[in-house]
Amino acid sequence: MSTLDARQSRLTADDRYELAMRAQNQQRLNSPKHLIVLGILLLIVSLIAFGVAWQTQRSALEKNELAARDLARVESLIQDIQSLQAAQAMNPNDEMLRPLPGILSTLENLGERAGLDAVGLPRNQGSRTEGDAELKTYPYQNVRAKSLESLLNWVRLAEQEIPGLHVRELTIEPRTTAWSMDVVLARYERKQ
């Protein structure tokens, strides 16, 4: 076995290298891996695009279903609200339970209409929850009048004019110059 190196041959090292490279180039030509790499890259890109497109379509579909549900819900809600409003318009009880912010002034006015000088203001107004309603009480004490009829008229007018108002307690005492009345008026109001 001799171990002569390329420098001892007739061909120069460059010539040998060129021949070897030609063989290598042909080998490279016969194994065009770049086509596979390119194909794989294209496939990866297309898979990414596919993923994005699929996600976009899924998202669009979800939004579409949501919009359809919203539309149906809006129509249903509006229909429910309108039917409830219509029913509310025909329900007399609702007026009876409606909170009345000006009830005290109304009672004062009714007192005047009944011929009373002044009914004053209720002392220790109460409020108690009973079910879905609140029972509000308006205790008037020592409402005086020369005529018992005026006092009772005031109470009657209050019951007639103010929806839902009723007498819860009534005490009448004759005084030397006039009648004195303690009355507790009450009214149920829908809870807010």
Binding site: D15, L35, L47, F50, Q57, I78, V167, L170
Partner: protein
């Protein structure tokens, strides 16, 4: 029709093609070319060689090439540690080249022993570890280093012509396949349960290239190999070579080295060839005369005493070897040079192209699907916009003052409104108020009699209390009797009067309970 094998004869360290032999079972065609010293000329030579092979194959009925067989020019076989028997590692070590040494450096030059034993021909070599199954466990491993650039170029050219050699091998592999006596015995003794195939040494004395080519084989598998130049005899019609004592000594020294490295030694030696011995010259001592065949046999027997020797007098051992393979049609079982065998061909190129095309087609299909998904997504988005617009229209129709920025928010607002309306409309059971004024009016009729003084009337939701002052108790009893006789289903008057004196009169308290409306009691 037997196989046809093409023997490639090279020169200049195995890079220049200088001839071909196309050998069949009964044919032997030769093509010889003057080796060029220019890469372009060498390429042309290879083109011509390929064309010659094609023409010869076209002329035969079987236009197939059994094997391309490389000669030993420029090749080497050496041993390495088993862990170093890696073709890529060997190639990198050879390609690194000689280590640059600073002349002023006092340290000795570190030499890579392996790269010194392997031809330093960067990018030209194929390295092939030989079988370790046929050697002792833990021994060194033989490596074949073959410069095969002409083989690569010829294979490419033949491939371009549509000729695909079945095997790409070397003459060493061919010697083992053709002459290993252990291969024949193992085939014949296929029914024997266990046998120990001997290691055989095959020695070919090639007069055409003036080389002594040897290979160790077990069961036809190459274990190690070598070759050395021989002295040619000029002036003859046919080329002849002489073998001298030094040639045999060198051969046996090589074998000793290999035996120590691999742990096996040949027990049978097959010598193929006819070395020529010139007529005896009285002036030349016997020890310095070349050997004839008998002397060669005797010398080998003397130096390798335990081996059985077979001498086959073939004038053309290479031709005889390939012809034997062709006649036996065993070219398909030849071992191959892996690097050359694995070299990609047009079929590989086509496969790569088709694979690339298939991947591109798959990518296009996926892209098309993606485009369809996007298109469908756009359509759905349009439908969604239409639905939202319809919802806005419905909301605006319901309440023109409503500012609809988002339908979803409007849905929440409507739901809140609905809950509020429902709460407002929940039926509330209110207990019927007591008819206090009515009861008071009834009481006032009864107690308003002369002689009776009413001091207090109290009506609440539970009871009615009337406090009277009378002069006689009988008056009070009459009033109570009158009150109890009223049939208005409102009050139940109790019978007790609770009388007490008050300034000469009597004060009584009349007490009534409200009747329950359900039971009427």
């Amino acid at each position: 029709m037997s196989d046809r094998l093409c023997y490639i004869r090279r020169t200049d360290r195995g890079i220049v093609l200088r001839g071909l032999r196309l050998i069949g079972g009964h044919t032997d065609d030769s093509w010889v070319v003057d080796p060029g010293a220019d890469p372009e000329l060498i390429i042309e030579t290879i083109d011509e060689a390929a064309e010659w092979i094609r023409q010869r194959l076209d002329m035969s009925s079987k236009a197939e090439l059994g094997a391309l067989v490389l000669d030993t020019d420029g090749s080497a076989c050496t041993w390495v540690k088993p862990e170093d028997a890696d073709p890529n590692l060997l190639e990198s070590r050879v390609n690194e080249g000689p280590i640059e040494h600073d002349p002023d450096d006092l340290e000795p030059v570190a030499q890579d022993a392996l790269s010194e034993r392997i031809p330093r021909l960067p990018r030209e070599m194929d390295y092939q570890p030989l079988s370790e199954d046929q050697t002792s466990t833990g021994a060194r491993r033989a490596i074949l280093a073959i410069p095969d650039v002409p083989g690569r170029l010829l294979k490419d050219k033949l491939d371009a012509m549509g000729i695909r050699p079945e095997k790409l091998t070397s003459i060493w592999h061919a010697l083992c396949a053709a002459w290993d006596p252990g291969l024949d015995s193992s085939n014949a003794a296929s029914r024997i349960v266990s046998s120990d195939a001997p290691v055989s040494a095959i020695v070919a004395i090639d007069p055409n290239d003036a080389r002594l080519i040897w290979a160790w084989s077990r069961e036809g598998e190459l274990i190690c190999a070598g070759s050395s130049r021989l002295r040619r005899v000029h002036g003859e019609h046919e080329p002849r070579v002489m073998i001298w004592k030094s040639d045999v000594a060198r051969l046996c020294a090589d074998w000793l080295g290999w035996s120590s490295q691999l742990g096996v030694s040949p027990s049978r030696v097959v010598v193929i060839g006819e070395p020529i011995a010139p007529p005896p010259d009285e002036e030349t001592p016997d020890a310095e005369r070349p050997y004839d065949a008998a002397q060669l046999g005797a010398a080998l027997t003397q130096r390798w005493p335990d081996a059985t020797l077979d001498l086959l007098g073939e004038p053309d051992p290479v031709g005889a070897t390939l012809q034997r393979i062709a006649q036996r049609e065993i070219s398909g079982s030849l071992s191959t040079i892996d690097g050359l065998e694995a070299r990609p061909t047009r079929a590989h190129r086509s496969m790569f192209r088709w694979a690339g095309l298939a991947l591109t087609a798959a990518a296009c299909v996926v892209l098309l699907l993606a485009w369809q998904f996007m298109s469908r997504a756009n359509t759905i988005k349009g439908e969604t916009r239409a639905l939202n617009a319809q919802a806005r229209t419905v909301l605006t129709d319901y309440d023109s003052a409503m500012q609809v920025t988002q339908v979803r928010r409007a849905v929440f607002d409507l739901e809140s409104d609905l809950i509020a309306i429902r709460q407002r409309q929940t039926p509330i059971e209110i207990p019927a108020p007591k008819p206090i004024l009515e009861a008071l009016e009834t009481v006032s009729f009864v107690v308003g009699s002369p002689g009776i003084e009413v001091t207090k009337i109290t009506v609440n939701t539970r009871t009615v209390t009337v406090v009277l002052v009378v002069s006689e108790i009988a008056q009070a009893e009459r009033v109570l009797s009158s009150l109890r006789s009223i049939d208005d289903s409102l009050l139940d008057w109790r019978s007790s009067l609770s009388p007490s004196n008050r300034g000469g009169n009597i004060q009584v308290s009349l007490l009534a309970d409200w009747r329950d409306e359900e039971d009427g009691s």
